[in-house]
Assembly symmetry: C2
Homo-oligomer: 167 residues x 2
């Protein structure tokens, strides 16, 4: 693994921030408070929009911290507005952008040992493929789906972002 | 890159198949035709359920073919029932399972050059991170979200699947 996976997290979090900007434009145009999205849910028994953003940020943050054997910054999970959620994304991006290639030289030794796994752990590669990627995309996409189903003018290009094509 | 990314596609496609099984059980219990899901959409201007499954399968199939420099099997995109979509997943799984580690020894030389990019291309690593992963998860998660919002008894554990924990 190299730093490309961090660059992809950075890209996707920037895309996610772009979704929030479009949500704000949509709310303005339709004269409602954009912060109504913060507690909105795709289904009544799913986590609210704010949690989708927080967990997406944290999945990226904790993976990058684990794979670089560094400490992740702690955030309070107390965001109540879209502006605060954008700030959460920005703080996460700041942490991700602080990493350099050499920080990931020992990624294969990384472990994922969540408290609920009772001492069991995933090795670095399993952590990356089985959790760090699918869990991140799950929450980004659920946030996207909330906005998309509420009529915000977002499409898959906003989710995927620009591809780094060569000629 | 090693074959772990293929194993993850296999796992997720099995999870996706499990969602279809739960959808059928839900339809039975509620006395409606499970095939009503085939044309269902998360939003009226999004692709239908069948296309989400087809594109998820094809994203995995084409990535594995590209990274192993082999030919992907062609499918017709003519599935009209959940049973046929399950068969589509199975045929995709058969292709994925046919690959061995050595097939991916030249993955870095792989390119992604979709017809719409007018001759431009992504290198193997960019293809993997910027398209093969996010596009796959986008469509798996959209299929999940359709079922989830319609009351099918699926949760994130069905999406993520069992983690290969060690003790």
């Amino acid at each position: 693994m190299n730093k490309k996976f961090v660059e992809q997290y950075i890209k996707m979090l920037n895309n996610l921030d772009g979704l929030l900007v479009k949500a704000a434009a949509h709310a303005d145009a339709n004269k409602f408070d954009v912060n109504n999205f913060v507690t909105d849910r795709l289904a009544v028994d799913m986590l609210p929009f704010a949690r989708q953003i927080q967990i997406a940020c944290d999945t990226a943050k904790l993976a990058v911290a684990s794979f670089s054997f560094s400490e992740a910054p702690k955030f309070e999970d107390n965001e109540k507005t879209i502006a605060e959620l954008r700030e959460r994304i920005k703080k996460t991006l700041d942490f991700l952008k602080s990493k350099v290639e050499a920080d990931f030289s020992k990624f294969k030794d990384a472990k994922y040992a969540p408290f609920w796994a009772n001492g069991m752990w995933l090795d670095g590669e399993s952590y990356f493929y089985e959790h760090a990627m699918p869990n991140f995309y799950f929450h980004v996409q659920t946030a996207y789906a909330i906005l998309r189903t509420r009529g915000v003018n977002v499409g898959k290009a906003d989710y995927i972002g620009a591809l780094n094509f060569q000629k």
